[in-house]
Symmetry: C2
Subunit: 550 residues, 2 copies
């Protein structure tokens, strides 16, 4: 049987192994192995948490239902002869390293960023003897299960791999591997967010950054502040209730994802004026272009003690809805002209004898103290560090968005960094301008291809002594022109690009990565996430043949 051996060799040369992100250490062989019809996953852990059981059930379901034919001509049907004679894997055994605390996936995923254990080791022998997955935490086991799912293909009714033995020792390069969704400019039902969390978990993302409110709508029902959503949501059907939030954070936690909520302040808050006009400056100001980067204008009266207390109480109440230790208070795009022209703010400043910057400092210290009292570490957008001089705890996380070049300045101030630069990671760019009478292209043209995101270097221009400050990064979807209609198609598989940078480390080659990304996109589709094709199917089935330098 010469042919199968040749095919095997080709398959291996072509590197069709569909892992994403790539493990940090990976050895594969060239032996076929199939899953036994009675394949099962055993857990050698006393009192294993229930969310680990659920994760195992999902893995078994994916192994059964992915039904992914290898992305080669013939979709792997030529493997069948070899697979028929191959060994059968009956068991994957999961265990924790001795002495590891038996915590739920959910609890581990919500530990402070940087202290979660995600490493794991996976070994699949070529002979079909028991495969083993070990980790120091159930979260690590979840990451390993996610890897295990990506090893298998189906042809002629057999679930198999052509690359055993497989030895993987894996851990993330950076702990913060995120995706940000804006649910204020356009609304997304809970089911859309849960589907997104599913896809995030399949690529080992760790952090959902939920930009829940903005100037356009206030879709979050906050205990004690229910008027904000009842008057500020787009519709009563477009509100996240406390139960919805519980469902989302539970869904995320079980999938190894922590939810960092953001209530953007003091800018990006115009819609609060619907319920509390007394707290918002320049809500009716015109033209909006003078008072905000986007309509509607309107910002919290940061110099007002009443507004400051209101904001602190609101943030504290939101903080109590979310189990994460991180919470973003925003802080981007503060418009000073809004305050210059607001008589109340001017009166407040005069009464206190403070400058606007001094008032902003008081406002920020007060609101941060409020969420710290609830156990949160604040995250802020870069302007709070680079354009303003507010007092921030030195554990504050700073999110860089204006330009990747700005990370160095944030690092120089010794703050921890999350990379979300518009020039690499903004998923909305390049699809035209949403302003009603401006026929120009988008402000952050061009479209950020996955290849562009893939070239991101988290340590660019950051000194070795500041390297530890980089927590990771995220791709972001601002939703001026997105809704449930294009959520999947604008995000996937593109947003998988950064998670490989932040898990596997930078420097990957997008040309050789492409076949794995195809593989991921196909699995996503089969699991219900509408990841788009990156190439004609002809190319996806013929690695390298659609390269210019082929």
């Amino acid at each position: 049987m010469k042919l199968p051996a040749l095919l095997l060799a080709l398959a291996h040369l072509h590197g069709v192994l569909g892992l994403w992100p790539l493990p940090r250490s990976l050895q594969t062989g060239s032996s076929a192995l199939k899953l036994a019809s009675n394949f099962d996953i055993h857990v050698n852990i006393a009192h294993a948490p229930s969310d680990l059981g659920s994760a195992i059930a999902r893995t078994k379901s994916f192994l059964k239902n992915d039904k992914l034919g290898r992305l080669v001509v013939g979709r792997g049907t030529l493997d069948s002869n070899v697979v028929q004679r191959a060994g059968s894997l009956r068991t994957l055994e999961l265990s924790l390293a001795p002495g590891s605390p038996v915590r739920s996936i959910t609890d581990e995923a919500r530990l402070p960023i940087g202290t979660r254990s995600e490493e794991y080791a996976l070994h699949i022998p070529a002979d079909g003897f028991t495969a083993t997955l070990t980790a120091n935490s159930t979260l690590g086991l979840l990451r390993g299960l996610t890897t295990f799912e990506q090893l298998w293909y189906e042809a002629s009714g057999q679930v198999y791999t052509m690359e055993t033995p497989v030895s993987i020792s894996d851990s993330p390069a950076y702990p913060f591997r995120g995706f940000m969704l804006d649910t204020s400019r356009n609304f997304f039902p809970v089911s859309d967010i849960q589907r997104t969390l599913d896809a995030m978990s399949w690529v080992k993302m760790s952090q959902f950054h939920w930009h829940v409110t903005d100037s356009q709508s206030f879709p979050l029902e906050v205990p004690g502040f229910t008027e904000l959503a009842s008057k500020g949501a787009y519709a009563s059907s477009m509100v996240y209730s406390p139960q919805d939030v519980q469902d989302i954070v539970a869904y995320a936690g079980a999938r190894g994802i922590d939810v960092m909520i953001e209530i953007d302040t003091p800018g990006h808050t115009a819609i609060i004026s619907a319920a509390h006009p007394e707290h918002i400056a320049c809500a009716e100001a015109s033209p909006w272009t003078t008072f905000a980067n986007e309509p509607p204008p309107g910002q919290l009266r940061l110099a007002s003690p009443a507004t400051t207390n209101f904001t602190a109480d609101l943030l504290a109440s939101v903080a109590r809805m979310f189990p994460s230790s991180l919470m973003s208070t925003g802080g981007d795009e503060l418009n000073t002209e809004c305050y210059v022209q607001d008589p109340e703010t001017q009166a407040d400043l005069k009464a206190s004898g403070r400058t606007l910057e001094q008032a902003l400092d008081v406002f920020t210290r007060t609101t941060h103290a409020a969420i710290r009292a609830e156990g949160k570490t604040p995250a802020v957008w870069e302007e709070m560090v680079l354009e303003h001089n507010v007092t921030l705890g030195n554990d504050t996380v700073v999110m860089v968005w204006i330009s990747s070049a700005n990370a160095a300045a944030v690092a120089a101030k010794n703050f921890r960094i999350v990379h979300g630069p518009s020039d690499f990671f903004y998923l909305d760019c390049g699809a035209g301008e949403w302003v009603g009478d401006d026929v120009a292209n988008s402000w952050c043209d061009p479209f950020k291809t996955w290849q562009k995101s893939y070239t991101f270097d988290p340590q660019a221009n950051i000194s070795a002594s500041q390297a530890h400050l980089v927590l990771g990064g995220e791709q972001l979807l601002w939703t001026e022109q997105s809704g449930p209609e294009n959520l999947d198609s604008i995000v996937w598989p593109r947003a998988a690009s950064s998670t490989e940078v932040f898990w596997s480390g930078p420097g990957g080659n997008s040309t050789t990565a492409l076949p794995r990304l195809h593989d991921l996109a196909f699995r996503m589709r089969q699991r219900g996430v509408k990841a788009i094709p990156l190439q004609p199917l002809w190319c996806a089935l013929r690695e390298g043949q659609c390269n210019i330098n082929s």
Copy 2:
């Protein structure tokens, strides 16, 4: 009751009437009118065709299920008082002008381009007396029903309009208002095509240009040539059977849409080599960049009499599958180097004593004769006229794609024109490059916004004496990076832009058109087509407030 009157006035000033495309003649009043609970549509036509009955049933279903709240703050709930007291419309009466032939919508839609009757007149009185829709054809009645559907909103359980009396006299500026879909680079199930036809009909498109095959795959089962699909489709599940074709053309016809099939020749045919390697030059040639604009290379051996006859027979068989009087034989991007390096072609040229251009002329005359024998008028891409010197019947339709500037040169040669210029109408541009190792942006950057398409002038640089040559135009989706996953979101509502240009005429103002386009996108979503948001909902509910010059 001062408030409702004020609201009414505002509503009218703001022009919320959600018609798309805009009728050529439109008068509206400011009286409210609701649909009676027993509203019905009567047909005053003896032996009315069944597809008119189906169209009426769809209209009644949309009136019931669109449930579109007006795109204003409050979604029209404040209209309720006025609507309660308004008259009720019980009947819309449809009739044909005396002497009009009673043809089905389907038959009228398949008449030769330029001879179909699409004009109609619609009158809705303010008092609730019978509304009337008259036309010279059932196709005209369909267009009028489509307009009628767009007049109504729902609030508090009432279906109503605030703008009666309505008087519309309407007819298209151009007969060819099209959309092109490439089903070769990636495959689309029949249901996706039918959903696209639905959306096309809602904006009065008349022509589906089906680029069914290309070099990547051959998904069409052609009687007598079934080996092309069985060996050249991506999978047996990715084939359009003759029954599928019948279903698609019937579905289109009933919706007033003619289907122009394209079998692109002699280039863009590499996949034919899977079944007939003898007919394809340079199928294995390398590097592909020398022999084709996209992989895989491979073109019909146009100098071979056998290949020419094969192609003529194939095209004739395809022609018999489609009732349209138009059929495209393609003709774009012919690569001459492929033939220079093909020994068989060189031998054929030598044997016949022809140059390549002369052989192309013979090939084209032969294949066009074959489809003319089946009653088809050929359509070709612009290169057949501008880059080659082939003999074409003077009724040939030429599709301009490389640049909008090229239309003038085609007109100068006295050919009929369909505008499909990449610089205005290519829906795939601006989303990155699909070539595997080229991280550049797309060749036709930037993204073509709906506003850009909307500025298209069909008569630009065309002399008055050639003006009659312009049949219309189409927006096009080449599917290197599209599949069912993003079909709706990449096409809608953008592709509605050109249909307003070609129905209502050019010169529209995109700023004032935007609210109508929002309205259309909302209706599309409620009818199951995932049209994307063009703005935050905050803006969509507040006409003009997200303009820079507001």
